[in-house]
């Protein structure tokens, strides 16, 4: 089905693709390779209290922030 030459080409092209990816990463920083996306909140920092939507706000008494 696939010859050794086919698989050799696949391996070389994959390695070349990885190289291109890392060169692109170095030349165009902005995407850390292994960084985790920023969490919405951490244990050290409580979650931000979001204000209620406008529809609910109109039902609240005036003194509620």
């Amino acid at each position: 089905m696939f010859s050794h030459d086919d698989l050799r080409e696949l391996l070389i092209l994959t390695a070349l693709g990885a190289l291109v990816g890392f060169v692109h990463l170095v030349l165009r920083p902005g995407l850390p390779v292994l960084a985790e996306p920023a969490a919405a909140c951490t244990l050290a920092e409580p979650a931000r209290a979001e204000p209620p939507p406008e529809a609910l706000r109109s039902e609240l008494p005036e003194d509620v922030p």
């Binding site: 693709g17 902005g30 995407l31």
Partner: protein, 161 residues
């Protein structure tokens, strides 16, 4: 009076023979596949952060690996597409077929999980609801896989080792 068409040689007939059609179809498959993957790789390379966000939306990979995938996938697409236009076409077709199998599996799992998200196939869209994942994406990928199979069905070019 003799019939003029009876003197037309066999190889001058307007209908291409089967042996001529094979390489032409393979060329068409190579050009189409290369064009699609070049068009897919360019926006992802231009905005890797947006593509990383599109990958994260699939909720299929560990967070730590998302950026690595967003770096490697467009580069592999670019290299595979360019290889299709060179004598290393079979290696390029194998590489793109592998990517397509991965994409198809990811799309199928997302559809089965009922995730409503943007495909991100041609880079991240401005809106998350643009180009939502659907069965059409699976069909498109199967069509592209057929093109890769067509390239692989052609014999290895002479002189390429």
């Amino acid at each position: 009076m003799s019939d003029a068409t009876s003197h037309v040689p066999e190889d001058m007939s307007p209908t291409p023979s089967r042996s001529e059609l094979g390489p032409a179809l393979t060329w068409l498959a190579r050009l189409s596949l290369a064009g699609v993957f070049l068009a897919a790789a360019a926006p992802k390379l231009a905005d890797p952060v947006a593509f990383a966000a599109a990958i994260a939306n699939y909720q299929a990979f560990p967070d730590a690996s998302v950026n690595l995938i967003a770096t490697l996938v467009p580069a592999l697409e670019l290299v595979g597409a360019l290889a299709l236009l060179t004598p290393w076409r079979r290696g390029g077709a194998l590489l793109l077929a592998g990517l397509l199998l991965g994409f198809t599996a990811l799309l199928a799992v997302s559809l089965a999980r009922g995730l409503d998200l943007s495909c991100g196939c041609f880079g991240a869209s401005a809106s998350e609801t643009a180009d939502p994942v659907s069965a059409l994406h699976l069909l498109r990928n199967l069509g592209l896989l057929a093109l890769a199979a067509l390239v692989l069905a052609a014999p290895r070019p002479a002189g390429v080792r």
